[in-house]
C-alpha cells in the first residue's frame, strides 16, 4: 500500500513469527518523511510488534523471526551487512512508559551522541543537548537543573526527555510506541503538540490505541487487526469514510 512516491521507510510483505505463532501476517506499508503515520487497532493486533521490526528491536527477542523486506532509503535493514547499531541511531524510538536512564538529565540526552561520536568536544556536546531539549520543548523547564536525575522529572517531562534523547542522535525516523498511554491528559496534550512540531523534520510513526489522538496528530493512518493491515490511507478518510466494515466497527467503538 503505497501512498508516497519517495518512502523513507518501506515494509513489503512483512511476516513476524513468535516461535510457532504468527504475530504479523504479510504487512506492506510505506512511510514518507514529511508526515506522521499512526498505527491503530485493538490490543494484541500486532501494531507494536510491527513498529519494533522497523528498527530491529525485535532482535532482542530470541524467538522472534522476521520475513519480508524492510528498507530504509532503499537499503535492506535486515541485510547481514546492515549495522543494527547505526540503524537504531537512524531510526529512533520512544517507548510506552517513559524510561529515562537513572542519570542526570544532561547525561540522558548526551549518551547517544557520545556513543556514536557525534560531538567532537564538550561544547559541541552541550550544544547538541540544548538543541535536542529545545526541540523536545523541555529546555525551559530543565535548563537550571540539568544535573538532576532524569527520573526525578514528572511523567510527561520524562517522556519528553526520552524524545529529546531520541532526537539527540539525529535520527531520520522516530518510532513512538503508545508514547502517551502512561501520561495524564495535560502531559498528553504537550506530547501531541511536540509531535506536531517535529513533523516534517523526521518521519514519525506512532502506535496508539487512542483514536482521537490518531486523528489529532497524524496525516496517515493504518488500521491493524489480527496481525494484518485492514486499511491504510489518509487519516481524514479513515475516520470519516472508512472503506472496510471492520475499520468502521472499530472506530465507532463496536469492539477493541
Amino acid at each position: 500500500m503505497t501512498l508516497t512516491n519517495h518512502p523513507k521507510i518501506s515494509a513489503q510483505h512483512v511476516t513476524v513469527w513468535y516461535g510457532a505463532k504468527k504475530a504479523i501476517d504479510d504487512v506492506s506499508l510505506d512511510f514518507g518523511s514529511d508526515h506522521v503515520t499512526s498505527l491503530i487497532g485493538p490490543s494484541g493486533c500486532g501494531k507494536s510488534t510491527f513498529l519494533r521490526t522497523l528498527n530491529r528491536m525485535n532482535d532482542t527477542i530470541a524467538a522472534a523471526k522476521v520475513e519480508g523486506d524492510i528498507t530504509l532509503d532503499g537499503e535492506d535493514i535486515y541485510a547481514p551487512e546492515m549495522d543494527v547499531v547505526q540503524l537504531r541511531a537512524r531510526v529512533g524510538m520512544v517507548f510506552q512508559k517513559p524510561n529515562p536512564f537513572p542519570k542526570s538529565i544532561f547525561e540522558n540526552v548526551a549518551y547517544g551522541p557520545r556513543i556514536h561520536g557525534l560531538a567532537g568536544n564538550k561544547s559541541q556536546l552541550s550544544a547538541i543537548v540544548e538543541q535536542s531539549l529545545r526541540r523536545a520543548g523541555l529546555w525551559d523547564e530543565v535548563k537550571d537543573r540539568l544535573t538532576d536525575s532524569g527520573t526525578a522529572l514528572s511523567g510527561g517531562q520524562q517522556q519528553r526527555l526520552c524524545i529529546a534523547r531520541a532526537i539527540a542522535v539525529d535520527p531520520e525516523v522516530i518510532l513512538m510506541d503508545e508514547p502517551c498511554s502512561a501520561l495524564d491528559p495535560i502531559a498528553t496534550a504537550k506530547i501531541e503538540e511536540l509531535i506536531h512540531e517535529l513533523k516534517g523534520r523526521y518521519a514519525i510513526v506512532i502506535v496508539t490505541h487512542n483514536m482521537q489522538q490518531a486523528a489529532r496528530v497524524s496525516q496517515r493512518t493504518a488500521f491493524f487487526h489480527l496481525g494484518s493491515v485492514v486499511e491504510y490511507g489518509a487519516t481524514s478518510d479513515i475516520f470519516t469514510n472508512p472503506r472496510q466494515e471492520r475499520t468502521k466497527d472499530y472506530i465507532t467503538g463496536r469492539y477493541g
Binding site: 537504531r88 556513543i115 531520541a166
Partner: protein, 437 residues
C-alpha cells in the same frame, strides 16, 4: 451439641446439600460447651504463638551465649600481665657503651650483647632462684627495647616492666595453679605486677609461648588470601553473571553452566580443599601452604556466590532501561557495560562482600592445602607459607597450654569483628542503593 454439626456449620452449603436431613437448628455460640471450646482454641493459639517466640528467642539466646562465652574468655587475651623487673645495667657486664647505641651500629651491637642472660640474672636477683621463670620467654626483648630507646640506662639501675610468664599471666587474670597464685599474691604485695593492653597480640605472629603469640602473621595471611580470592572471584563472577543473564542463548551449554554454578554453590567447602590439593598442589605444583593457593581455592568457592547474587542484581535492572539504550543505538555490549552493570553494581557488591565474608571465615579447605603450618613470621609474598585467622584459631584451640584459651577467644573476637563489619557494610550498601526506579 456435638462437634460434627458445629464444624459443618462453619462451612456454608454443607448442610443444605443434604436435603434428606432435618433442618439444622442455628448454632448457639453462647452455650457453655461452645464458649469452653473457643477458650480452648484461644489457649492453643497463645501456646503456639509462645512456642514461635520461644524458638526465636532461644535461637538468639544461643548466639548471645556464644558471644558472651567468647568475650568472657577472650577479653583477657587483649591484656598482658607485666612485672616490674629491676635491672642493674651498670653492673651487668654488658659489653656496650652508650655511644655505641647512639651510632648507626646499634642494632648489631644489641644483637651481640647477652641481654637475655642479663634479664634472667636480674629476675633471679629480684625474685629468688626461680625468678627467671616468672618472666616471659620474650621478656628480654622488652629490656632490649628499653635500652635501645634510652642508651643512657646503660650506666644506671632501673626498673623495667616486662611481660610475665604464661603461668603467672593465667594466675593473675583468673584461676591459676596455687603456686602461681601465691607468686602473684607476693608480687601484688610488692606492687610489682600490673596489667595493660597486649599490643604484641596484634603485632606478633604465632609462637609456642602464649604470652608472645599474636595474630598479625595469620591476619596478613588472611589479607593475602582474600586479595587473591577477590581478584579472581569478582571479575570472573561478574562476567559470568552478565553472560548468563544478558547474552547466553537458551541451550544445553547454558543449562550446563547454570547447573554447574548452582551445584558448586552447594558443594561442601572441604571438597574444594580436595580439589586444591589435587589440582593446584598436585598437578600445577604450586607451593604448599601458600596464600596464593588458598586464595585460588577460596575463589572457586566464592565465585558461585557472586554469580548467583550478581544474576539477581542484574535481573533487578528493569528491561525498559535496556530498551532505552538499544533504542538510541547502543550495542548489546554498550547496553550492559554502560547501563546494566552500573545499576546492578550495588547488588553485586553486596553479594561479593557476603561471599568474601564467608571465605574469610572458611577453615576446612585451607587445612587440606597445608595452611596449618606453624608460621612464626608473617608472609612477605603470595608464595610464602602462610596461615589465616580461622586456621590460627583452630591451631590454638588444639594447644594444651592454658594461656592459649584466651588467645583463641581473643582471635575469635577479632575475626567476628571483621565479619560483622563486612556484613554491616553489605547491609548498608543494600539499604542505601535499594532500587531507585
Amino acid at each position: 451439641m456435638s462437634d460434627a454439626p458445629t464444624l459443618s456449620g462453619l462451612v456454608p452449603g454443607v448442610a443444605t446439600t443434604a436435603p434428606a436431613q432435618p433442618e439444622r437448628a442455628p448454632t448457639d455460640w453462647r452455650t457453655q460447651s461452645m464458649q469452653r471450646r473457643i477458650r480452648k482454641r484461644y489457649a492453643s493459639e497463645r501456646r503456639f504463638r509462645l512456642l514461635g517466640l520461644a524458638a526465636v528467642v532461644l535461637s538468639a539466646g544461643f548466639l548471645a551465649v556464644l558471644l558472651v562465652t567468647m568475650v568472657y574468655n577472650g577479653a583477657s587475651g587483649f591484656l598482658q600481665t607485666r612485672i616490674a623487673l629491676p635491672v642493674d645495667f651498670a653492673h651487668s657486664g654488658l659489653l656496650l657503651t652508650p655511644a655505641e647505641l647512639r651510632g648507626p651500629g646499634a642494632d648489631l651491637a644489641l644483637s651481640t650483647a647477652n641481654i637475655e642472660g642479663l634479664t634472667d640474672s636480674s629476675a633471679r636477683a629480684a625474685f629468688g632462684p626461680d625468678g627467671d621463670r616468672w618472666v616471659s620467654d620474650g621478656g628480654w626483648l622488652r629490656v632490649r627495647q628499653a635500652l635501645k630507646h634510652d642508651p643512657a640506662l646503660l650506666t644506671a639501675r632501673t626498673t623495667i616492666w616486662v611481660p610475665a610468664a604464661d603461668t603467672l599471666d593465667v594466675a593473675a587474670k583468673r584461676q591459676g595453679d596455687p603456686a602461681a597464685e601465691a607468686i602473684v599474691a607476693k608480687l601484688q604485695a610488692r606492687h610489682a605486677i600490673s596489667t595493660g593492653f597486649n599490643l604484641p597480640f596484634l603485632t606478633a605472629s604465632d609462637s609456642n609461648d602464649p604470652t608472645r603469640a599474636g595474630i598479625w602473621g595469620a591476619f596478613k595471611g588472611s589479607l593475602f588470601t582474600m586479595l587473591v580470592t577477590l581478584l579472581i572471584a569478582f571479575p570472573v563472577g561478574v562476567l559470568s553473571a552478565l553472560y548468563l543473564e544478558e547474552y547466553a542463548p537458551r541451550n544445553r551449554w547454558t543449562d550446563l553452566i547454570e547447573v554447574s554454578i548452582n551445584n558448586l554453590a552447594a558443594v561442601p567447602s572441604i571438597i574444594f580443599g580436595l580439589l586444591g590439593l589435587a589440582v593446584f598442589l598436585g598437578t600445577f605444583g604450586l607451593p604448599r601452604s601458600a596464600s596464593i593457593v588458598g586464595g585460588l581455592t577460596l575463589a572457586l568457592m566464592t565465585m558461585p556466590v557472586i554469580v548467583i547474587s550478581g544474576r539477581n542484581a542484574i535481573k533487578g535492572v528493569p528491561p525498559s532501561i535496556r530498551d532505552a539504550a538499544l533504542g538510541v543505538g547502543a550495542s548489546p555490549i554498550q547496553v550492559v557495560f554502560h547501563h546494566v552493570l552500573p545499576l546492578a553494581l550495588p547488588g553485586i557488591l553486596t553479594g561479593t562482600i557476603i561471599g568474601m565474608a564467608r571465605a574469610l571465615g572458611e577453615t576446612a579447605p585451607l587445612l587440606m592445602i597445608g595452611m596449618r603450618a606453624f608460621i612464626a613470621s608473617p608472609p612477605a609474598r603470595l608464595t610464602d607459607p602462610a596461615t589465616v585467622l580461622p586456621v590460627q584459631i583452630f591451631l590454638w584451640s588444639d594447644q594444651i597450654d592454658r594461656g592459649f584459651v584466651e588467645k583463641t577467644s581473643a582471635a575469635i573476637i577479632v575475626l567476628l569483628a571483621f565479619l560483622l563489619a563486612m556484613n554491616g557494610f553489605a547491609i548498608y550498601l543494600r539499604n542505601k542503593f535499594e532500587t531507585r526506579w
